[in-house]
């Protein structure tokens, strides 16, 4: 994270014509977009629109059937998820997936071991990241004994510990109270401002989307139907029709 601050923003994401088909169902169809280095983009859309599948294709968990994903101009095609992680893409899971028998420090240290072989150094770094996300006093707890919002933070901490250039956040604000959402938003804004970390987030909480994003991408039935500034996208009639509805903006 600190390394990227000195060299300016990194983590530019280019997605070119990626598609994913599950049997007869086209989950994502020829989606292309870019996230400029150092920017925060939100990916929104109704349930089943293909948002998480898009994430999985970027992170390598489900290789795209067609198309290509590039990080800072370098193709990630054919790489395994762990290689894509080491290349600089950190991700969280929509349904939290902590390592339940490990302490919080150990959970996050696993992420840090992506760039160091020294367990002590990884633990030190993990403690720092937990501190940053407000979990410092629970570092020796097990994930099962902390609240769901805290587990969402843990998910973010583990991804951040890998020192990503690009962070993929899959609904980390879902289920959080507004004050917790605001705290999370503040953390991401600060990370983005301080280190130039590029962020792509899937989010239903419009409060967070509007506060964070430079641009908003809208997926519907696997197709990208809008890509623009938050205030433009939220006025787009097609977007309103498929997804948002007027009440989302109260």
């Amino acid at each position: 994270m600190s390394a990227s601050a000195a060299t300016g923003p990194v983590g530019a994401l280019t997605v070119r014509n990626i598609s994913k088909r599950f049997g007869g169902l086209v989950a994502v169809s020829e989606v292309s977009f870019t996230v400029a280095a150092g920017e925060i983009h939100a990916l929104i859309g109704p349930n089943g629109a293909g948002k998480t599948t898009t994430f999985n294709m970027i992170a390598g968990a489900q290789p795209p059937d067609t198309g290509d994903v590039l990080l800072d101009g370098v193709s990630l095609a054919g790489l395994r998820p762990d290689q894509i992680c080491r290349a600089g893409v950190g991700r969280t899971f929509q349904i939290v997936r902590p390592f339940n028998e490990l302490t919080l420090v150990e959970n996050v240290a696993v992420g840090a071991l992506a760039w160091t072989d020294d367990v002590a150094e990884a633990r030190d770094h993990a403690r720092g990241v937990l501190e940053l996300l407000g979990l410092g006093d629970k570092k020796d707890a097990r994930p099962s004994s902390i609240t769901l919002p805290d587990r969402k933070c843990l998910e973010v901490a583990r991804a951040l510990a890998t020192k990503p250039k690009l962070l993929l956040l899959d609904e980390v604000m879902a289920g959080l109270r507004p004050t917790e959402t605001d705290r999370m938003v503040a953390i991401f804004k600060k990370l983005n401002a301080d280190t130039g970390l590029t962020i792509l987030l899937i989010e239903h909480v419009m409060r967070a989307v509007m506060a964070l994003s430079h641009r908003v991408l809208v997926l519907n039935y696997g197709r990208l139907i809008a890509d623009g500034k938050p205030e433009e996208v939220t006025r787009d009639p097609e977007v309103l029709a498929c997804y948002l509805g007027a009440e989302a903006f109260d």
């Binding site: 992170a59 968990a61 395994r80 998820p81 762990d82 290689q83 992680c85 080491r86 991700r91 899971f93 997936r97 902590p98 390592f99 339940n100 028998e101 490990l102 150990e106 240290a109 696993v110 992420g111 071991l113 992506a114 072989d117 367990v119 990884a122 020796d140 583990r158 991804a159 890998t162």
Partner: protein
């Protein structure tokens, strides 16, 4: 590393560990030959149990075919000794190599083609069983009539050739158990150990956090099978006879596993504790029913034990004893 483990342990736990270690060190002078023979078997299962636990307990990969690695180690070192006069101190390296190659072959097939969980366990059983069938037909290795090591009435203990008294075999297996314990403690707190546990807990999340699944699972299988192969060398020279129809059987693999299941899978002390609980009970039962033609009584009893553990202490005995005896360190720390 050892210093860190000692630092993180409570005084009570250290005292207990010291007493047990001391008792084991002087045991041959205190007990009769029958009890010593039981202790030897206990330590053997404590040793191979730890090796197996490394694979399932640490890395989450279930093997039900560890008898294969014992057998390969045993047959390799015994054949080298009998046919070529190669002492087991040299033969053990060939034994490790054989076990590791077999382990890596199974691991490669399983992990490369995403054969997971129960299906991977079936793969390990299959390899153990068909290797047994092959050995059963190799007359050079004694085929079904067995492979026997020459037994001489020796006055002195010959450590390099593993020929000597039960006391010598006791100390050899005690040393192996101690070394395996030290290795496992070190591994569990290393990068390998953290990565293994991450894989065990959630494979996809581990991979997304930068853990190369295939490589780290292969390392787990290689270390586990190699350690188990060393146990096989000891086994061959202690028992002096090897029969394919018993060596490669799943029942042998299950016997290796039981101690860990009872003691606590994934814990450092579980396999050792489980061996100390199960083996003497099994021996006592065998002795008590001697001559009564109750052939299946040991298996029945073990089945009963496992059912009881699964029902009442699914984490195994060790975590429970750990709490009952108050062994947890006062301050926060590592396990």
């Amino acid at each position: 590393m050892i210093a860190r483990i000692i630092e993180s342990a409570s005084p009570r736990a250290l005292a207990l560990l010291a007493v047990v270690t001391l008792a084991l060190l002087v045991a041959p002078w205190l007990v009769d030959s029958y009890v010593l023979s039981v202790l030897i078997i206990v330590l053997y299962f404590a040793y191979v149990g730890q090796a197996w636990n490394l694979m399932l307990g640490f890395a989450g990969q279930l093997s039900l075919g560890h008898a294969l690695f014992v057998s390969l180690g045993a047959y390799t070192s015994a054949a080298l000794f009998i046919k070529f006069g190669v002492p087991p101190i040299i033969g053990v390296f060939a034994a490790i190599a054989m076990a590791v190659v077999a382990g890596c072959l199974i691991g490669y097939l399983g992990f490369r083609f995403s054969i997971r969980g129960v299906y991977f366990a079936l793969l390990t059983i299959a390899f153990a069983e068909f290797t047994g069938i092959i050995v059963d037909h190799i007359s050079w290795l004694g085929a079904s009539s067995g492979l026997f090591l020459p037994v001489k009435n020796q006055q002195s203990n010959d450590l390099l050739n593993l020929r000597g008294s039960p006391t010598m075999f006791y100390y050899v297996i005690l040393a192996l158990t101690g070394l395996a314990f030290a290795l496992c403690s070190w591994l569990l707190n290393s990068k390998l150990g953290l990565y293994w546990q991450a894989i065990r807990e959630d494979q996809e999340a581990a991979e997304a956090s930068g853990v190369p699944l295939f490589r780290y699972k292969m390392i787990a299988v290689a270390i586990s099978s190699g350690l188990t192969g060393i146990g096989g060398v000891w086994y061959a020279f202690y028992y002096n006879n090897l029969f394919p129809e018993t060596m490669f059987k799943t029942s042998q693999s299950v016997e290796i596993i039981l101690g860990s299941v009872v003691g606590g899978v994934g814990t450092l002390f579980g396999p050792i504790l489980g061996a100390f609980v199960l083996t003497p009970l099994g021996e006592v039962l065998t002795a008590a029913t001697d001559g009564m033609h109750l052939d299946g009584v040991k298996s029945f009893f073990w089945g009963f034990c496992v059912a009881a553990i699964v029902l009442f202490r699914p984490q195994g005995l060790w975590p429970w004893i750990y709490n009952v005896l108050g062994l947890a360190p006062k301050k926060e720390g590592e396990r």
